[in-house]
Subunit: 129 residues, 2 copies
DNA sequence: ATATCAAATGATATTTAATATTAATTATAA
DNA sequence: TTATAATTAATATTAAATATCATTTGATAT
């Protein structure tokens, strides 16, 4: 983190960030809460909510909403998601090519000031088929 | 609708479908409820929920989840969305080119059986900037 | 035209995700 | 070490969505 920003490194915050940086399954708040509780048994779910929002606002993690629920991931590079319609599992798909293609296509849209783009792919994963 | 499927055309269902087919603002359930209530004053919100789900399952409308809330639209062709980060307004972006490009890119992903794709563009709309 | 019956409705209760409030606690910098 | 601003934890509240179920309705066969 950026020392000029005066960020407090509390135990809770460190554990939440650590949990997420070792987890590429796109966990929900509930998942993070359950995971972190193993080390910090007295942590409150509100703290998990607050810190996930906070860490995302600082750009240290990324929030992604899938089918109405927020999920969090350590991969902060622009990327896309492949989502299983059946089990809901999510896999990252990094493709600068796709991001660039999308942004290039949208340039003609003068009314909107486009800043970012992301593509979701829906299908059936190998486990489910 | 498909007559072989034995679908009941209730007043409520017809009004909900009609409301949506004249509305390209991607209304929420609440929006649809408020809109339809003008004609069917005694309609229940549960009925709106049920019918929107039903109509989407029949492919007559499309459900899209933006920032955690479900929205519904009459445009059932594959398309993409441009979303204002500030006011939340949503504009359709039809581009077979982008859909095809995306699907073509993902073909190498043998584990997943990809069926569809959609891209969200985030930015600031003309009103907000 | 009427009876039948599965489907749909509406009212309400419940669940779930997320946010808000606030007193007590804690991390940092002076 | 102290001051103080941020953070925590517990709880309350809100909002979206789903579940339940008695009653009603619409399509079909007669």
């Amino acid at each position: 983190m950026n020392e000029s920003e005066n960020i407090k490194y509390t135990n809770q915050r460190v554990e939440i960030l650590d949990f997420l940086q070792n987890n590429y399954t796109h966990p929900t708040v509930e998942d993070v809460y359950e995971g972190v509780k193993k080390k910090l048994t007295r942590i409150s779910k509100a703290t998990v909510y607050q810190n996930l929002k906070f860490l995302a606002s600082k750009g240290l993690i990324q929030e992604v909403n899938i089918k109405g629920v927020s999920r969090f991931e350590p991969n902060i590079k622009p990327h896309h998601h492949i989502i299983c319609k059946n089990c809901g599992s999510i896999v990252d798909f990094e493709s600068k090519e796709l991001t660039d293609f999308s942004l290039d296509l949208i340039k003609k849209m003068k009314e909107f000031n486009i800043e970012s783009t992301n593509t979701n792919f829906f299908g059936i994963c190998s486990k489910c088929k």
